[in-house]
Assembly symmetry: C2
Homo-oligomer: 296 residues x 2
């Protein structure tokens, strides 16, 4: 299948599965349920499910395992966006062109929706359909996802980000920050898929995780670039929000030209990681192209 | 061992294990780490670990499984208190006589500390030492804990509580609210322990979960009573906060005398559930006494 059609198909399947996940919740707390649905289904690009499926297809992992892993990751990703947007955090009113959760609902509901979405990620990993091998790996999948989402990953990165806001930090520190805040969850995509692939050579596993790690950084560098010279309408929020929030960014620390060279260099390293693999990696190469050249 | 000494021992072991859990986090986000420690170690009564250990000792479950389960439950409990205390939620400045997390630190750090503590609960269940049987049950333990903590349990109950605040609801609705908000996690204590007990008769399992469910409700009724006529110094926060917050309570809906009769009736039912068990349940009976007669 052509890459763009494949992306569209994976996005649709993920959206459908997440929508069904929401529909299965009983109605006892309708406002909370609506807020969770809003957070989970308000137009994400589903980059992480795409990565999960592309790696999984490369390794011949059963599709139902990939869908379950994707759903869990999207629950974590959606919860993190809801909490990051809160007034006490980044205080953002718009995301993907629609009101953020605490604007569409209220702050208490947004906090709870984030909390319940995080929990739901672990329910999905513990309970949702998997192949026999996937079923045997549930506890390890929980371990990897929790590590990437908590203090050792995303939450730790967000805390470092908050501490660094308004301060001037080094490129190395900014890289570590994004490695935790964005990179850890992308690495988890690769690591989780490799857990449900029998007999994968360890260097192939490492190369796939390294690819995901580089993609996480590239995603963030491009995010910083788009916040300066992107199209606000396409991005779905006003430009310049990083500078307005006193955030450290790659263009601000390196200059725009060097930030773009850094992006190209990350892309190059990612393609090298793919070349070491004994598989057809055309779709993963197309994915890397999408990540560094995206306009929203 | 005498009950009070046993309670003290379990509390101390839980505190030590949680303190060690915090010490093992690397220092990359020191403020977040300090906030997590504050939330986890600021003087809880460890009622849930006590229940876990008492049921586990009754069923001869290995102590290391009980400690791992207790740590995970306390991470969930601590996170829920941090988020419930936030300005957008119950807006409480004091808990157990010490400043709440967002007062001791700041709101963003408190949100993140709660988030990271929730994640940590699942890391503990996935990674911490367990017996062979416990190890084989990790995914089921995650399933039970997540169900009790998320939309189907604690988060759902908190959302119903928020919606009911300032409204007048029925006793049945208040009971359902507390069943989700407080009861679900106490039921999970019993359910998780029974998962690591081989060959437990199903009716014994049900009786233990029913005991925990009744204890959850009794705990809440006594909480409501203490908020009216307790000792503010012992409780560690001002009296009358429920009324001040427009919360529905059993004394407000039933009158104080009927609320106390309800508490006695829940206690009686709990003791009946214990009598159906083919074990020595003296310690569990002492636990129920502690729950309904506690003064803080």
């Amino acid at each position: 299948m052509e890459f763009l059609a494949l992306h569209q198909q994976i996005k649709q399947q993920t959206d459908d599965a997440l929508s069904q996940l929401m529909s299965m919740l009983p109605a006892h707390a309708p406002r909370l349920q609506a807020a969770m649905r809003h957070a989970l289904l308000a137009g994400g690009k589903r980059m992480r499910p795409l990565l999960v499926h592309l790696i999984g297809d490369t390794l011949d992992v059963p599709r139902r395992d990939l869908l379950t892993i994707s759903m869990a990751i999207e629950c974590i990703h959606a919860y993190s966006l809801v909490h990051d947007d809160l007034p006490a955090m980044d205080d953002d009113d718009l995301r993907r062109g629609v009101p953020t959760c605490h604007i569409a609902f209220d702050e208490a509901t947004a906090i709870l929706a984030g909390d319940a979405l995080q929990t739901l990620a672990f329910t999905v990993l513990a309970d949702y359909p998997m192949s026999e091998l996937g079923d045997a790996q549930r506890a390890k999948l929980v371990s990897v996802l929790a590590k990437s989402a908590g203090y050792l990953g995303m939450c730790g990165g967000q805390a470092i980000d908050l501490a660094a806001t308004g301060e001037s930090i080094s490129v190395a520190a900014l890289t570590q920050l994004h490695q935790l805040k964005t990179g850890a969850l992308l690495c988890a995509c690769a690591e989780m898929v490799t857990l449900v692939c029998e007999d994968l050579a360890d260097d192939s596993r490492q190369a796939l995780i390294e690819f995901a790690r580089l993609m996480g950084l590239a995603f963030q560098v491009q995010d910083d670039i788009l916040d300066v010279e992107g199209n606000a309408e396409l991005i779905g929020k006003p430009l310049g929000s990083d500078e307005g929030h006193g955030k450290n960014t790659f263009p601000a620390l390196l200059g725009m030209d060097s930030a773009k060279r850094e992006l190209a260099s990350l892309h190059e390293s990612a393609l090298q990681a793919l070349e070491s693999l004994p598989y057809n990696t055309d779709h993963l190469a197309a994915f890397s192209e999408l990540m560094v050249k995206r306009d929203h």
